[in-house]
Amino acid sequence: MRRAPSYQGGWFICAARLVVCLPTLALGADLRLPDFDSLRDKASNSVVISLDENLLGMAGQFLDPSVPGDAQAKSVIKGLKSIEVRSFTFEKSYPVPIAEIAALRAQLTPPRWQQAIKTHSENDHSDVDLFIAAEGNQAQGLLLIVSEPREFTVVSISGAIDLAKLHSLEGHLGVPKMPTGK
């Protein structure tokens, strides 16, 4: 086995379908994302983005509906309350910010927050954790933590999010589309 997961089959797809099937969700999962200052000094490239509803609205004004990527982005952010990203790229291996991750995980209390995906790869030493906040059948937020040997990324989104649309943004927005299989 290449990977040693504690994973429940099809969770990702189920989670995606759940969010797709609920296009107008009343979302309000307020997470406090750390800035991961301990990583900033060591990172060769840092991205710290926090956009609230107001800024998302302002940014949306510059999305051109006639451009396919922009139109898709506009449809994705419609109904979002916030989007926060912390992403760090390193030249060499970095110390995983255990304390910050623990502080973040402490906020993900059940039953509101459920872990949808948890994978660990021994081969490429990567971990992926996806949490979804839900009340009944309604998702209320999303938290994604991706740890790789040279990259660490945390994404938090609250609001009416369409996961499938968000995923399909790849290939637009200047991001090259990655191969889906290995």
Partner: protein, 109 residues
């Protein structure tokens, strides 16, 4: 009789030098009126300039605010595109991780 009348009239209508007191009062009155007129004339341009300054200041302030908001929105737009790109890429990593597990299960049992 008519001579006396003529005499009296001449006497009454003769040129008389004004008293210094009268002259002073007259000059003082004229000066006051001139000052009042001048101050009104001076006040109008000042008020106009002040009003224009306020309008210009308001216009500049609004322009600066508008420019600042536009800059902020542009910055937010750039950040949004970057955030969505990173999110999309990270979701793809998650998808790949799950997909790879499914493949392993199929091929590896």
């Amino acid at each position: 009789m008519s001579r006396d009348l003529e005499q009296d009239l001449r006497q009454a209508l003769r040129a008389v030098n004004p008293s210094p007191e009268f002259t002073n009062r007259l000059l003082a009155g004229i000066t006051t009126q001139r000052r009042a007129a001048t101050s009104i004339r001076r006040l109008w341009p000042r008020q106009t300039v002040a009003a224009a300054s306020v309008l210009v200041a308001l216009g500049l302030g609004w322009g600066a605010y508008h420019h600042q908001q536009r800059e902020r929105a542009l910055q937010a737009h750039v950040e949004l595109i970057k955030a969505l790109a990173i999110t999309s890429r990270s979701l793809d990593r998650a998808y790949q991780a799950v997909h790879s597990l499914d493949t392993d299960k199929v091929h590896g049992g």
